[in-house]
């Protein structure tokens, strides 16, 4: 299971329409800005976490995979505890944790094609202003699709530079990564065009 990708299950969370789930994400993002009460935010996080077993997704594996994010949250909390106050750190960390849990629940239970349809419908009124809803939603879908591919490319570059003893040099990693990603982008563009997709 990859955290950014849909996992097929027969659950009430999966069955909820993508538009509703996106609206809930948006509403949650707004609501958590209106309270500084750590107990309320803690309860909100607990509700979000209940969503995972409800969606028949193993919470323990999700927490395990989200470890890098949790480390970032811990550093964020520690920085606030040191430089502002523990209370501020608690509130801000809980807000981030809620949003992360909410976003993960959305991507794990909603097919990208369903999110694309919602995005296309939502962006349609902006089409006269020059925004192409199909292209925008495709960019969104491809971002999710290529996260694992780019992670693999990064690992290949890192191992290759490690073999040359240069894996601690950021430029030795970033330059080949950028070149490979741009080359890949060109080939993907050709492939989409070859498939006759009219955008």
């Amino acid at each position: 299971m990859k955290l950014s990708l849909y996992v097929r299950r027969d659950s009430p969370v999966h069955a909820l329409p993508a538009g509703w789930k996106l609206s809930l994400l948006l509403m949650t993002g707004l609501l958590i800005l209106f309270t500084d009460d750590a107990r309320l935010l803690g309860a909100g996080l607990a509700i979000m976490l209940i969503g995972f077993p409800l969606a028949r997704l193993p919470l323990s594996e999700i927490i395990h995979q989200a470890r890098p994010l949790l480390i970032v949250l811990a550093i964020f909390y520690a920085a606030h505890a040191m430089f502002t106050s523990i209370d501020t750190g608690t509130v801000l960390t809980l807000r981030f944790a809620i949003m992360i849990a909410c976003s993960l629940l959305l991507t794990l239970t909603t097919r990208v094609s369903d999110l694309m349809s919602v995005l296309e419908r939502t962006l349609r009124p902006l089409a006269p202003l020059g925004l192409n809803p199909e292209k925008t939603s495709l960019v969104f879908a491809m971002t999710i699709r290529f996260i694992p591919v780019l992670a693999e490319t990064w690992e290949t570059v890192r191992v290759a530079q490690q073999a040359r003893g240069m894996d601690r040099n950021p430029l030795a990693l970033l330059i080949p990564m950028t070149v490979l990603t741009l080359r890949r982008a060109e080939q993907i563009s050709d492939a989409i065009e070859a498939r006759g997709v009219d955008l």
Partner: protein, 224 residues
């Protein structure tokens, strides 16, 4: 029928292809040649991914530049790296994406997707994330994507280069069974040997055009 009429392609000062005049009617055509000989450009000209600098390429009378959209419906294209060809996170979503341009009803889309998955032995992978597929499965999915729109021609650009022996065999068996006209750009002389006609490209020109055995012998001679 695919026709090249005095086709040249230049990139800056460099001539990629020069003065190509050809008519392709055979069912299986292979294009071989050294790296940088213009093979991939030749392939991309057939479905309008590259424009000729001079001359014209036509597919069943349709100009690949002027009628690019219609040509792409008739000419499927399989790239070397399937990872660059699969754009959606799930296998089913990727197939559905290919059908978008045809504007079929959901029931027709489902029917076509079921049929194509079944014919390539991919039914069990329908709801799997595309990144989790093996190299061979990804290439078969890319092939299924190309065939989903029922083209009359299929252009393959080194389709087995990144595959191991087992997956190479799997993909080649699937390609051999196609009823479509197949133009395969390859370094694999074993694949070229099965073609009805083989073109050998060297420095952007057709250095040899003929039967597989003679073409491969000529290519080997050139490489020495």
């Amino acid at each position: 029928m695919i026709a090249f009429e005095t086709v040249s392609v230049t990139a800056g000062d460099r001539t990629v292809l020069a003065d190509i005049n050809l008519t392709l009617r055979e069912r299986r055509i292979a294009v071989i040649g050294a790296n940088g000989s213009g093979k991939s450009t030749f392939a991309r000209l057939i479905n309008g991914l590259r424009r000729p600098s001079t001359g014209a390429v036509t597919v069943d009378g349709l100009d690949t530049v002027k009628a690019a959209k219609e040509v792409r419906r008739q000419v499927g294209f399989l790239f070397q790296d399937p990872d660059n060809q699969i754009v959606m996170p799930l296998v089913e979503e990727d197939l559905r994406f290919s059908l978008k341009a045809l504007k079929l009803s959901p029931a027709d889309e489902d029917e076509r997707i079921e049929r194509i998955l079944d014919s390539y032995g991919l039914t069990h992978l329908r709801y799997q994330p595309s990144h989790s597929l093996s190299g061979g499965e990804k290439q078969l999915l890319a092939l299924a994507n190309s065939m989903l729109r029922e083209p009359r021609y299929l252009v393959l650009d080194e389709p087995t280069t990144l595959l191991d022996l087992k997956n190479r065999k799997r993909v080649m068996t699937a390609i051999e069974e196609l009823s479509q006209t197949v133009i395969c750009v390859t370094h694999d002389l074993e694949i070229a040997a099965t073609a009805d006609r083989v073109l050998v490209l060297a420095d952007g020109r057709i250095a040899f055009d003929g039967a597989a055995t003679d073409a491969i012998a000529a290519y080997r001679e050139m490489a020495e």
